[in-house]
């Protein structure tokens, strides 16, 4: 075991290296990340026994990863934002093939307009695809989640591809201390892939889901994928327990921080959750009884754990780093759906939208969200969803608009 400083991209590459991956198909150009560059360098230096092939698009990259996994080799690939969207047709297709491989997505806000900084609308586009999703809050968690993700994907009760998600910049480019586990210990936890009934040999060709089907058989295959995804909840719990025994780090499907005696709970995904954790500590110092809940698994959605942890709480502040146009925060909807009609469900669920395109959420804003939620509990009624946005930020936009407006006037005069 070695503890050193790694970026999220570096931690991901180490996870792949330790997992003994056989094959990495990759689209090598923007928005590809340093994960692929790092792995390519190791292969070039002879430090990693793996085959890498570069492809002309993320669409082909996912096809290659899925096809490789269908032959019984351990495959990995990575993408980000627009690349994930470009691959979307095949994201659904390979999940339908029921092939196990792992992909890292580095979250970044989507066009248009364009940004390089993170939010979760990219990964949420893959929400209903059949890929399982593990969301990380630290660089250590990125490395560890990749090891667990291969176990999860390859489990015979599951057999589905898994996305490990991390936030661009906040994790991908940020170095933190990361423990790199010993290779032997990893091999004991994650032995070489035993493909069991998955096999493909040149001498014995098989076909994979080629038929055009009517509704009833189609429904059968789709619902089986859903059932396999639901199985991933108990399977993940078992894997996490083994991981904790082997490496001493615990990853439950839902991270609960100081929730036991909390009256109010923040719910947030991804790396901004550690900021919320800091806010919880400060609020506790100020005598406020606040906790934090972070879904680590988004698919399957850990309904049971969430209901248990939030039972009896007075109010919940859901902070969505995404926006479903015409509806609002996706996590807020998911949580409402998980809690509706449940005994002891919190009576007040307040929705906040923040961190779009990497827009920072300051400590004061977490304190204020706690304050707004406390007031909502007193009033017995949740206020309208709130975008975290200040007068000063709007003034900056007005400056840009002023330039555009002047230009439009000039255009009008020229016509």
């Amino acid at each position: 075991m070695k503890r050193t400083l790694l970026t999220g991209n570096g931690a991901a590459a180490w996870g792949v290296r330790l997992a003994g991956v056989d094959y990495v198909p990759a689209f090598p150009i923007t928005p590809q990340t340093e994960i692929i560059e790092t792995i390519a360098n190791w292969i070039d230096l002879g430090e990693m026994d793996c085959r890498m092939v570069t492809l002309e698009s993320e669409h082909s990259m996912i096809t290659a990863a899925g096809a490789a996994a269908a032959t019984g080799v351990r495959a990995f690939t990575a993408t980000s934002s627009q690349g994930l969207l470009y691959a979307m047709e095949m994201i659904y297709t390979v999940a339908g093939w029921r092939v196990p491989f792992v992909m890292v997505n580095v979250s970044r806000g989507l066009s248009a307009p364009i940004t390089l900084e993170p939010d979760h609308n990219d990964i949420l586009v893959a929400r209903d695809s059949g890929f399982l999703q593990i969301h990380c809050a630290t660089c250590q968690e990125v490395l560890d989640s990749i090891l667990m993700a291969f176990r999860l994907a390859e489990d015979e009760q599951v057999r589905l591809p898994v996305i490990v998600n991390m936030d661009g910049f906040y994790l991908s480019f940020t170095r933190e201390p990361v423990e790199i586990p010993d290779a032997d210990a990893v091999t004991r936890f994650l032995p070489p892939f035993d493909p069991e009934n998955i096999c493909f040999r040149a001498s014995a060709p098989v076909s994979e889901a080629v038929a055009v089907l009517g509704g009833p058989p189609y429904s059968y295959f789709r619902y089986e994928t859903h059932l396999a995804s639901l199985n991933a909840v108990p399977v993940f719990a078992k894997i996490a327990e083994e991981f904790a025994q082997a490496f001493g780090r615990t990853y439950e499907a839902v991270e609960a921080y100081r929730t036991d005696d909390a009256e109010l709970v923040f719910v947030i995904m991804g790396s901004f959750a550690t900021k919320a954790k800091d806010a919880v500590d400060r609020l506790r110092e100020a005598g406020r009884s606040v906790g934090l809940l972070r879904p680590r698994l988004l698919r399957p959605f850990p309904n049971g754990d969430i209901r248990r942890i939030l039972a009896g709480k007075k109010g919940v502040a859901v902070i969505d780093q995404n926006l479903s146009m015409g509806m609002g925060g996706v996590l807020h909807s998911e949580l409402a759906s998980a809690l509706y009609g449940q005994a002891h469900a919190p009576p007040v669920l307040v929705s906040f939208i923040g961190g779009l395109g990497g827009r920072d959420i300051g400590p004061e804003e977490f304190y204020e969200m706690a304050s707004v939620t406390r007031k909502a509990v007193e009033d017995g009624k949740a206020p309208a969803p709130r975008l975290l946005y200040t007068e000063k930020e709007l003034r900056e936009v007005r400056k840009l608009q002023a330039i555009a407006q002047v230009e439009r006037e000039n255009l009008g005069q020229n016509q």
């Binding site: 550690t274 709007l394 555009a404």
Partner: protein
């Protein structure tokens, strides 16, 4: 927790500086976070990198709002508002500026109450186009100012972070950084860790309701030409091309054709004129001019009043 921000231009090595300092803190047993921040990657454009270091787990993330130390590798960035050098600077903050001007001048000019220091002077390079590696020196001074990083840890950190560039580069950087570290001995410990914002007394963020606005206003579209003129990309320049008109042959097409930013035009007499508001200082014209009539001058020197390229 220590919160340190490095400001520079793309290519000046501030990401490397943050990594050296981060590694040095880590070697001293601190929990550490270091990261760069930039938009679309552009050489010469303002960027920053930051380091957090604490004896406890670091949960804070993202940009540093209240820095304990701000290091400015390039003093031409100070007046550039987009660079955000002064953001969150208070009387607690120490400013370290790489500048030929005295700290008192900066303190007065910026009207700040905290301590202002300048980088110890470094010898001028013979070839002005050779990049100056100031990242290790910036990290070395920062390491001395916090007062909790030993010379040995700094040395190890530089060797570890620059190893991939070869022994010669490591040695050159070690020499510069350790010299700077030693010269700043009297300021050791002048940067102290700042505090967290308490939840019992905080400034309300005062969120606003975003109003609905017509798509003519709220769509991210610009319906006119020449808006890029409003983006003064000349601010990204670290070196300035200056035309010596006594040697210019008025061949007219070479420099203006090779200029990737169309920043060279011809006047009525057929002499090339450089648009310094948009020239990014790539020096392609300097390399292409057949009569070697274009010289490269460090921007700081040009700003200080040496030939600005007027035709004599």
């Amino acid at each position: 927790m220590y919160r340190i921000r490095f400001h520079g231009r793309g290519g000046q090595g501030m990401k490397t500086a943050s990594r050296i300092l981060g590694r040095a803190f880590f070697l001293e047993g601190f929990e550490v976070q270091d990261a760069p921040r930039y938009g679309a990657e552009r050489r010469g454009a303002p960027m920053f990198a930051y380091v957090r270091a604490s004896r406890n787990t670091i949960n804070e993330r993202g940009i540093i709002r209240r820095p304990d130390l701000v290091v400015v590798a390039d003093d031409t960035l100070v007046p550039v508002s987009a660079a955000g050098v002064l953001q969150g600077v208070t009387e607690h903050t120490v400013m370290l500026i790489n500048s030929n001007e005295k700290p008192e001048v900066w303190k007065d000019r910026l009207n700040i109450s905290g301590q202002v220091l300048t980088m110890p002077s470094v010898a001028e390079k013979e070839d002005r186009l050779e990049p100056r590696f100031i990242s290790a020196s910036c990290a070395g001074v920062a390491a001395r100012l916090v007062g909790v990083i030993s010379r040995t840890s700094l040395k190890q950190a530089i060797s570890a972070e620059l190893a991939h560039l070869g022994a010669a580069v490591v040695d050159k950087n070690l020499a510069g950084a350790l010299e700077s570290y030693d010269l700043m001995g009297s300021h050791s410990g002048s940067v102290t860790p700042g505090h967290e914002v308490p939840a019992y007394a905080y400034q309300n963020p005062e969120w606003i309701e975003l109003p609905f606005e017509d798509a003519r206003v709220s769509a991210p579209a610009i319906h006119a030409t020449a808006t890029s003129e409003k983006m003064k990309t000349g601010l990204w320049r670290t070196m300035r091309p200056v035309i010596d008109y006594s040697r210019c042959n008025r061949c007219w097409w070479v420099c203006s054709t090779f200029c990737p930013d169309s920043a060279i035009s011809l006047d009525d007499e057929g002499y090339p004129q450089i648009d310094y508001e948009h020239c990014k200082g790539c020096m392609v014209c300097v390399a292409q001019c057949p009569s070697h009539a274009i010289h490269a001058i460090p921007e700081q020197e040009a700003e200080a009043g040496t030939p600005a390229g007027e035709r004599l």
